[in-house]
Symmetry: C2
Subunit: 106 residues, 2 copies
């Protein structure tokens, strides 16, 4: 795999994080990652082509939300731990809001 870049933790900023989370496809990706384990691209079942998925991964990576670990021909993606350090409870609140109960609460 080509090497990917991750921003240093100190330059993760809230607006960019929220902006990155403000997309249904990226929200779905984060939801899958919320089991705390590593996933590869085929794990995310989203209605876009491979290159677009890769673009969304880069967006999440650039925002400091996910960490990509290339290994061999695959790329393992997981939630980035520094996010919780920096914005405690934020991701949890977002994930709670994605659950069906939130939709019913109309």
């Amino acid at each position: 795999m080509r090497r990917v870049v991750h921003p240093p933790a100190e330059q993760i900023n809230l607006a960019e994080v929220l902006s990155a989370l403000g997309d249904p496809i990226r929200l779905e990706i984060v939801k899958v990652l919320s089991d705390g384990r590593e996933h590869v691209q085929p794990d995310f079942v989203v209605p876009v082509g491979q290159s677009t998925l890769s673009y969304h991964m880069k967006t999440l990576r650039d925002a400091g939300i996910v960490f990509s670990r290339p290994e061999g021909t695959r790329c393992f993606v997981s939630l980035r731990a520094e996010l919780e350090q920096k914005f405690p409870g934020l991701l949890a609140a977002v994930l709670r809001s994605t659950r069906p109960s939130a939709a019913e609460r109309a």
Copy 2:
């Protein structure tokens, strides 16, 4: 004031809320509103012109984050209560993340 429209609570959706919050200027507006009181546009000190501020207000309104109450020649803006009903703790987590301590936690 011209009349403004608010989306019904049941069609407030998470991605749009996060997307609306994913902008430094709108984040600042929400921060000011977090005192729970009503505010008028001049209360928000942001580095944009009046028409742009009005545009950001509309974005927040369309996302279901703020409520605008026209009265006479002014327009009183406040956080929309339904947001907390629908996504409990979300706004609180975001606001906590805007505090300086979050930046230090690099």
